[in-house]
């Protein structure tokens, strides 16, 4: 896969090999541009499809449209490209934390097509996650072409994600923060620079292709002290809605998992339900940017009750769409739900305190969005920067910080893991750099094996065995069958120490009489955390590693500590 010009001229590239920052920045720009194009393509296709289906919305059978779209999307994912349904973002996080950022080439377009079918036909989901996984997959595959190592590949995956978010929302800082806070989970300077550059590149390409659109037009807000106070209450509301939405999405996933129907049929059922709900609340269909725009502009006329119901209807619609196997992200739905929640809170507030002059309902819709992003994704910074950038206004920052961080903190109390991470944490696949789990996952037993043990035969006399002890500096002596070489047991020096000086026993005792046959062993592919647990439970400091009944070596806590420390230093100290 590596281009020949790289193979043939190692000398020219030598400087870049030792200091790869320029190389990463250049490739980061390419990845950012690709992500930007992917975002533009998906955006335009969605607009086209929504426009195309608008004429059919009034027919009675319109509720079948999301069903057909979801079924087609499911068929495409499962039968044609053979990928799992889902948000996409957890897959990127998993790839980063477990597989060194490796993503398949087909991931760079598969989610674009499937989410286009799901959302374009009216399914309630967001286009961000598909673009993020596309961008990340492009980054990963560009890294493969250049035969980059894991660290460089992960940086490019981050570049892809940053470029995607930056291009969709026309928000370069949000792209950078999203990649660092959610995708990579670390803030190292060597990664920030290429990702920032990629974020800007993705942003610029979307300017070039679509013009400098601010997704939600900018208005001047005049924040008063009463608004800042009110944001504490709003944070409570948004965290409540966040928790409801998180649980609803999970319950829906589990319920649909239990239904024994073909995947496309499940997706179709989910789509039908969403379509029917769409008759009552047309605003819940699609990615929902249109209704957000209306709410921010303050032209959304429905009363408190309707808004509150619409808020939960959107939660349900998203749960049905994604839970049934539709393809798309939760970013845009979170924004829609957040703006509904913010609007409902405003309506309630102005009903209770009619004499106080609040800043305006559009502004509360924005705060609600930040609260939901903070709560559901548990990424307060992403929420804050997103709203600041998409409104282009800096004056809202104080209420945003309050809503977003408070909401994230409250949600963290009830739901310790965000929606993106929860499945990964349950499966033990979230391994952030520099953590205990990461270090233990990286160290394999084969790296820790101590091979300087001298093996002995079971028919050896104690006299011969004492000769062996003379030449060993270990306390353990594995016993092997002389013919089959199978591991039979272990002689621990401590157990025989008292008899070593008794020369009468030298010719009367044999190794098989003094060896421990009931010794606990581990195999070389065992997880290190499990091995350590066995050691702790049994008060052991060393254990023999046995594969296919053959003794491979010893593993000891001392060696683990030595390597653990080196590994931790290599992972955490920036070079």
């Amino acid at each position: 896969m590596r281009p020949s010009f790289l193979r043939q001229s190692p000398v020219k590239w030598e400087a870049l090999r030792h200091d790869d920052r320029p190389l990463l920045i250049v490739t980061g720009i390419v990845v950012g541009i690709c992500s930007g194009i992917a975002a533009f393509v998906l955006n335009r296709s969605l607009e086209f499809l929504l426009e195309f289906f608008r004429h059919y919305r009034s027919y009675w059978w319109a509720f079948l449209l999301p069903a057909i779209g979801a079924a087609l999307s499911s068929l495409f994912l499962n039968k044609i490209v053979r990928e799992e349904p889902g948000h996409g973002v957890p897959e990127v996080i998993k790839a980063v934390s477990k597989y060194g950022g490796f993503l398949r080439l087909r991931s760079s377009f598969s989610r674009l097509v499937s989410s286009c079918l799901t959302i374009g036909s009216g399914g309630s989901a967001g286009p961000e996650a598909p673009v993020v996984i596309s961008g990340a997959a492009i980054g990963s595959n560009i890294a493969r072409i250049f035969s980059f190592n894991d660290r460089q590949r992960i940086t490019l995956v981050g570049c892809g994600a940053a470029g995607a978010i930056s291009a969709i929302f026309n928000a370069p800082i949000t792209g950078l923060v999203f990649a660092m806070e959610i995708i990579l989970g670390e803030w190292s300077t060597e990664k920030i620079v290429p990702i920032a550059v990629a974020s800007v590149a993705g942003n610029q390409i979307s300017w070039l292709l679509a013009g400098n659109q601010i997704a939600f037009s900018h208005q001047k807000f005049h924040i008063g002290f009463q608004d800042v106070l009110a944001c504490v209450g709003l944070a409570l509301v948004t965290s409540f809605v966040s928790i409801v939405m998180t649980r609803s999405l999970r319950v829906s996933h589990h319920r649909f998992d239990k239904v024994s129907l073909p995947l496309w049929a499940k997706a179709a059922i989910g789509g039908c339900i969403v379509g029917l709900m769409g008759f009552l609340f047309p605003d819940i269909l699609g990615e929902g940017y249109h209704s957000i725009r209306k709410m921010i502009e303050g032209v959304y006329t429905q009363g408190l009750t309707i808004v509150a119901i619409a808020c939960f209807a959107k939660v349900l619609a998203t749960s049905f769409t994604l839970g049934s196997g539709g393809s798309g992200g939760i970013f845009a739905p979170s924004l829609v739900v957040g703006s509904f929640a913010g609007l409902a809170y405003y309506r309630g507030l102005s009903h209770i305190f009619p004499s106080v002059s609040w800043v305006g309902e559009g502004c509360y819709a924005l705060f609600g969005m930040a609260g939901l992003i903070g709560g559901i994704l548990q990424a307060p910074l992403t929420g804050i920067f997103l709203i600041v950038e998409i409104t282009g206004g800096y004056e809202v920052i104080v209420p945003l910080i309050i809503t977003s961080s408070l909401s994230a903190a409250i949600c963290h109390y009830f739901e310790p893991a965000s929606l993106y991470m929860k499945d990964l944490i349950e499966r033990g696949q979230l391994l952030r750099p520099g953590t205990d789990a990461r270090v233990l996952m990286d160290l394999s037993i084969s790296e820790l094996l101590e091979k300087d043990c001298i093996t002995v035969r079971p028919d050896m006399s104690l006299r011969e065995f004492v000769e062996v002890i003379k030449h060993s500096h270990r306390n353990y002596y594995p016993v092997e069958d002389p013919k089959s070489k199978h591991f039979l047991g272990l002689v621990h020096f401590d157990d025989i120490r008292p008899y070593l000086f008794d020369s009468i026993m030298y010719d009367t005792v044999f190794v098989e009489q003094i060896m421990d046959r009931e010794v606990l062993t581990v195999s070389s592919d065992e997880d290190l955390p499990k091995v350590l647990r066995i050691m702790d439970d049994n008060g052991l400091y060393s254990m023999p590693v046995v594969v296919n009944k053959l003794f491979m070596g010893m593993i000891s806590k001392a060696t683990i500590l030595d390597h653990y420390r080196k590994e931790l230093l290599v992972q955490t100290v920036e070079s």
Binding site: R17, H18, G100, N149, E447, E467, K566, L569, S575
Partner: protein, 228 residues
């Protein structure tokens, strides 16, 4: 600089498969091609220092030579040399004269060596019986870069060392080592030789250096065979 990956791993004192993983994950500034690696010594040195990992290019070979030094008693004896008709009538006198015969030593070192030999002699006699003594310093001469040596001295007059069996001493093995490990090693080898009564008779006949070394080498071969 180019090295085999296994050699490079040895320089870092880290298992080969860990180094391979670090290269794959991009945690170490070297480049791998097949089972070799290319690296800039300075860059790797800085990297190792930053991560508190020891990195020495030659460390690997140094250890091997050290092992080799300890291995042969005969070579340590050749360094120390054979000395005939060493004069003196008391322990102090023979030791003083024996120390003055040692090759390649400054006056200052001889003085220190003599003092520590006497200190050791005051603890208990180094006369181990059968007319043989193995005088040695009270503690190993650590911190010096000298090699271990055994100096064999045939005394002009028999001297009373207050040995275990009361016999006066006619042969001395002056043992000086830089480490406890080598000290124990040579002590055990010498005592192995002395267990053989024919060797005692052989010593009492003041053999020529050639005959003596030949005999010691024969003993060592015998020991090595037994080890295997």
């Amino acid at each position: 600089m180019k090295l085999k990956l296994a050699e490079f791993a040895a320089c870092l004192n880290i298992p080969l498969n860990t180094v391979e993983r670090w290269v794959r994950q991009g945690k170490i500034p070297i480049r791998q091609s097949d089972n070799h690696c290319m690296f800039d010594e300075e860059v790797v040195g800085k990297w190792a220092q930053k991560h508190n990992i020891s990195f020495t290019l030659s460390d690997h070979h140094k250890d091997e030579t050290k092992e080799y030094e300890i291995n042969a008693l005969s070579s340590a004896m050749k360094i120390g040399g054979l000395h005939y008709d060493v004069p003196g009538d008391s322990v102090e006198e023979v030791l003083k004269n024996a120390v003055s015969l040692l090759p390649d030593m400054s006056e200052h070192d001889r003085e220190i060596l003599y003092i520590t030999l006497i200190e050791r002699e005051k603890l208990t006699s180094t006369g181990i019986g059968k007319g043989v003594a193995i005088p040695h310093p009270r503690s190993p001469l650590t911190g010096t870069d000298m090699k271990a040596f055994v100096s064999t001295c045939f005394l002009k007059n028999k001297v009373d060392f207050e040995a275990i069996d009361g016999k006066p001493v006619s042969v001395m093995f002056l043992l000086v080592c830089p480490s406890v490990k080598s000290h124990l090693y040579f002590l055990s080898r010498i005592s192995f030789c002395l267990r053989d009564n024919s060797f005692i008779t052989f010593l009492n006949n003041s053999p020529t250096p050639e005959m003596f070394y030949e005999k010691i080498e024969a003993f060592e071969k015998h020991l090595e065979k037994a080890d295997k």
